[in-house]
Homo-oligomer: 497 residues x 2
C-alpha cells in the first residue's frame, strides 16, 4: 500500500500529519535535507554521535551551493591559526568576536558569535582532520580568492573604517589547498568522501516535499519525492534542514529581499527557499529576510582601491578600501542606476577579473572635465567630487568616508579613466542571508524563540553568522555552514523522545 | 468545565487543535480581531451581508492605531471626487492606478491596486454614507494635515519626480471634517457608532491568544483571554485579523525591519505583531517585512521645500519637493547620523510643527563657509554642494535630483541657517508596512499563494496598498484599512463550509 494519496495534500507550506502516514518508507534517527557543506557536516557529526543518519539530496550529486564557492573558511582567534601566526598575526579571540559581532549588523546574534569565536580554531582543526588541506601560506595583496593554492587572505573589511577602529585587524580567510578559484568543489569532495565512509545513508534525487508533524510542536519525519513517488521518512530524533537559501526563487526575492532583484547573477543550485518554507510550515520564524550579499569583483589588483566610486549624481558614497561586498552593498542602494570607478594613470590597471565582472571602460580623458562631459554628468558634479577628494587625499585624509591613508592618492595623472560598474549590466553575484531563526545548537525557533521539537536548520536555510549585507566577509558562509551544521548534527543525535 | 487546561499550550505561534476545544464559549459566523478602521469596516460589511459578527478588541475601547492618525483617505480617479472637481482636478482612474502602482515599489500588488483604483470613488461614497463628513474644500499649500476642518490636500509625491512623469498629478488626500489634527479619532467615533448599530457583538478587553485549527488548512476559531481566562470562540465562516502591525514589538522590528529601530517614535497602540504571528502560525506568509514608514514633519510652511537637505558628508540625496515621508526614508538610509536642512533668509520660516518635530537650529551664519565650519564639516563639503545647487537652481534646473522648477531658488541671501534633523534626536514617527500576504478579498495566503481556509486579514496585519517606505503617501493606510477591511468582511460572510 502506498502512502501517496494521504500525503499528497501536504506541501512545503503545510506539514503532513503523522496520523496520515500509513507506513514509513524510510527510518532513521536523524534525517538531513541537503548535501552541501552544512548537510555534510551535520550528517558527519550525527553519525559520529552514534545516530543512524539518512541524507536526502534533491540533485544527483553532493555539493550544493557550497561547491560553487571558493571553499574559504573564516577562522582565527586564540592566538591565530598556524597560517596566521606564520604570517605574523597574533589573532585574539576577542578581536574575532568583536569583528563578527560588528559584521552581524543590528540583529547580530551574540550567542552564536560567542560560540563560534571560542571554538573557531578547534573547528579549523576538525576540518583538517576530515582531510581538507590548507597550505601554510599568506597572500598580503588584495584579492577575491587565490588563483594559486595559497591559503590565508584578507577577506573582509578588517582593516577598513569603522571595523579597524573596533577590532584589531587580522586576515582570517583560509582557502583550501586547491590551485585556481573554486576550492568549494574540492572542499565538498573531501567532505563527501567522509560522508561515504561514515554511517550515513545517502539518497540522491530525493526532493523534500513536506515535514511530518507528530502530535503538537514536534517534527517526526519528512515526505520526500523519489522516483516520482511520495515517500515517508521517519526521523526518530530530528530533521535537519540544510537546503540552502532562496536566491533562485525570484518571487520570494521580490517579496522579501527586493534589493537583490537588481543582481542578474544569483548564485545558487537549488536555493528555492524550500528549506525555509518547510521550517515555517511548522511555526519556524524566518528573520532578516531582506538581507543579502551582492558583489562585483572589482579588484584585484589592489591599486584599484586607490580609485574612487561615484554614483549617478557624481557623489562618492563609501571608503573604497573596505571589502568588495560592502562596497557593492552601498552601490546597490544608491539612487539612480549608474556607477563608475574612477582611476588615474598611476592607479589604473586592468581589473584581473574584468571579463567575469563585465567591467568596461566607460570613457577616458585628459582632464576630469572631459570625463565628466563624456559621462553626461552635469558640470561640476564629478569634477567637484574629484577635486574635494584630491585636496584631502594630498593631505593624507579622507574626512568624509575615512579611507585609510595607505590607499589615498590624489587622482591627478592623466589619462583619467571611468570604469562602468552598472548593477544592471555587470556581474553582481548575489545570495540571500535571511533564514530560519535558530539557537546556536541549530534548534529552529518560533516567533517567541521557543524551539520546535525535532527540527534543526543550518547553512543558508538558517539565519547564521553572516546576516547583514553591509558586513558580509568571505568565508563566513562556509564557516557558518560547516560549524553550525556540526552543532545541529551533534544536538539532533542527542534528542530523546 | 473550562477549556483552559487544553488551550493553554496554544499560542500566537501555535494554533489550538479544534479537537482540544471541549466547548465553544462564543459562537459567531465571522470573528473580527481588532477594532481599528480595518476591523470596524470588516465587521460592518460582514454584518450587512447577514453574518453574525463577533468583534474582539484587546483594549477597552475602539480606535486602534487608526484613531491616532489624521483619518485621511487617499481617494480619487473616475473624474475626481466632488472636492477634486471643485478644486479643478479631473482625476482619471488610470492616473490613480499608475500612481499607486509606482508607490507600491518592487513588490506592488497590481490586482489590489486595480480593484482599489476602480472602486475608490464608490468607497468614498460608502464612508460618507456611514456618516463620515468631509467639507468641500481644498488647501493648495503644502501641509502634513489640515489644522482646520478642510478636506483636500496634496498628501504624497504626486507632483515630484519621478512620479509626476508617469502619472498625472492630483491631490488625493481627503481629510474628515474635523477641526485640528487627529481626525482619525473622529473617523473611528463615526465607525464605532455604526458598529454599535449593526448586528455586531463587541467584546472589549479580549486578547487574541491563538487560532483554532479544525482539520487541515482550515481556521475555525480563536482562543481569547477575557477576564484572565482563556476562552474559545467558534467562527463558522471565518476569522478576520485586523490587529495592526508590529512597530511596538522592538524585537520583531530588529529581526525584520532594523532600519526602523532608528526611529524613537513608533506610532502604535497594540501593534505588537500578534496579528501577523497568528496568521503565520497556520502557514500564512508574511511579506515585505523590512518595509516601513518613518517621517519627520519638516514642512509646512512650503517655503522650506526650497531649502536643501544634506547628509553627514555634506551631500544632497533627494529632490526635497517630494513627500516628507519619502525624504525621511532617504534620510534614514544615509551613511552617518547627521542630517541638516539648509535655508537662506528668503526661504526660512520656522517649521510650523517645530516643537513636535524637535527640529532645532544647529547654526546660522553670514556665509556658507561659516555654517560649514560650525557644523564641523570638512572644508568644501557643504560649500561645494550649495554652490553646485545654486548654480543650477539659478538656471532653473536640478540635474542631479530633479526638484521641480517652482521649488528652485539659489540659497544666496544671508543669514544662512542649518536646521538639525538628526534621526536620533528628532521626531521621526514610524510604523511597519510588512504583513500577511492576502488576496484583494483579504484571504490570507501561504508561501505558495494558496488561501488558508477561513482566515482573512486587513489593515496593517496584512501587507496592503502601502508596502514601500519610499512610496508611502498619507491616506493610503486608512484607505487600505477601510476598503480592504470591507472586502474581507464581505468575503468572510460568504464562506460556506
Amino acid at each position: 500500500m502506498t502512502n501517496a494519496p494521504r500525503l499528497a495534500s501536504a506541501s512545503l507550506d503545510h506539514p503532513a500529519d503523522q496520523r496520515d502516514v500509513a507506513r514509513w518508507d524510510y527510518e532513521a534517527d536523524v534525517i538531513v535535507v541537503g548535501f552541501g557543506a552544512a548537510g555534510a557536516c551535520a550528517a558527519l557529526e550525527a553519525a559520529r554521535a552514534g545516530a543512524r543518519v539518512l541524507l536526502f539530496e534533491a540533485t544527483s550529486g553532493s555539493g550544493g551551493t557550497s561547491a560553487l564557492s571558493g571553499g574559504e573558511i573564516y577562522v582565527g582567534g586564540g592566538g591565530g591559526t598556524l597560517m596566521q601566526r606564520t604570517a605574523g598575526f597574533n589573532d585574539a579571540t576577542e578581536d574575532l568576536y568583536r569583528y563578527l559581532l560588528l559584521t552581524g549588523g543590528p540583529d547580530a546574534d551574540a550567542a552564536r558569535v560567542r560560540l563560534y569565536a571560542d571554538l573557531s580554531l578547534q573547528h579549523f582543526e576538525w576540518l583538517m582532520a576530515q582531510g581538507v588541506e590548507f597550505r601554510n601560506s599568506y597572500i598580503a595583496e588584495r584579492c577575491i580568492e587565490p588563483v594559486t593554492d595559497d591559503c590565508l587572505i584578507w577577506s573582509g573589511s578588517e582593516e577598513a573604517w569603522p571595523f579597524a577602529q573596533q577590532a584589531r585587524p587580522a586576515p582570517r580567510g583560509h582557502c583550501p589547498k586547491f590551485a585556481g578559484m573554486g576550492g568549494g568543489r574540492y572542499l565538498m569532495d573531501v567532505l563527501t568522501q567522509r560522508v561515504q565512509q561514515a554511517r550515513v545513508q545517502v539518497q540522491f534525487d530525493a526532493r523534500a516535499c513536506a515535514l511530518v508533524r507528530g502530535g503538537e510542536r514536534e517534527v517526526t519525519g519528512l515526505v520526500v519525492r523519489v522516483d516520482g513517488e511520495l515517500r515517508s521518512a521517519r526521523a526518530r530524533r530530528g530533521v535537519i534542514l540544510c537546503a540552502g537559501g532562496f536566491v533562485m526563487n525570484r518571487d520570494m526575492v521580490r517579496r522579501h529581499a527586493p534589493l537583490l532583484l537588481r543582481s542578474r547573477f544569483p548564485i545558487g543550485t537549488v536555493d528555492d527557499g524550500s528549506g525555509i518554507r518547510l521550517g515555517q510550515s511548522v511555526g519556524g520564524a524566518a528573520i532578516n529576510m531582506a538581507e543579502g550579499f551582492a558583489t562585483i569583483p572589482w579588484y584585484p589588483p589592489g591599486s584599484l582601491v586607490k580609485g574612487i566610486f561615484i554614483n549617478s549624481q557624481g557623489q562618492r558614497f563609501i571608503n573604497e578600501d573596505c571589502y568588495h561586498g560592502r562596497v557593492s552593498q552601498y552601490i546597490l542602494r544608491q539612487s539612480g542606476d549608474r556607477v563608475w570607478l574612477l582611476q588615474d594613470q598611476d592607479t589604473y590597471a586592468e581589473p584581473q577579473l574584468r571579463e567575469l565582472a563585465r567591467i568596461e571602460i566607460a570613457t577616458a580623458g585628459e582632464t576630469w572635465e572631459e570625463v565628466e562631459r563624456d559621462l553626461q554628468l552635469p558640470a561640476g558634479a564629478l569634477v567637484g567630487t574629484v577635486e574635494f577628494y584630491n585636496r584631502h587625499a594630498a593631505g593624507g585624509g579622507d574626512p568624509l568616508f575615512h579611507k585609510a591613508a595607505k590607499w589615498l592618492k590624489p587622482l591627478v595623472r592623466p589619462p583619467f579613466v571611468a570604469l562602468d560598474c552598472r548593477v544592471d549590466h555587470c556581474f553582481y553575484a548575489s545570495f540571500t542571508l535571511g533564514g530560519l531563526d535558530t539557537l546556536p545548537t541549530g534548534e529552529v525557533l518560533d516567533a517567541a524563540r521557543q524551539p520546535i521539537g525535532g527540527l534543526f536548520a543550518a547553512g543558508r536555510t538558517a539565519c547564521g553568522l553572516p546576516r547583514w549585507g553591509e558586513g558580509y566577509s568571505s568565508g563566513t558562509s562556509i564557516a557558518d555552514a560547516t560549524f553550525f551544521g556540526r552543532q545541529a548534527g551533534m544536538r539532533a543525535a542527542r534528542v530523546s523522545r
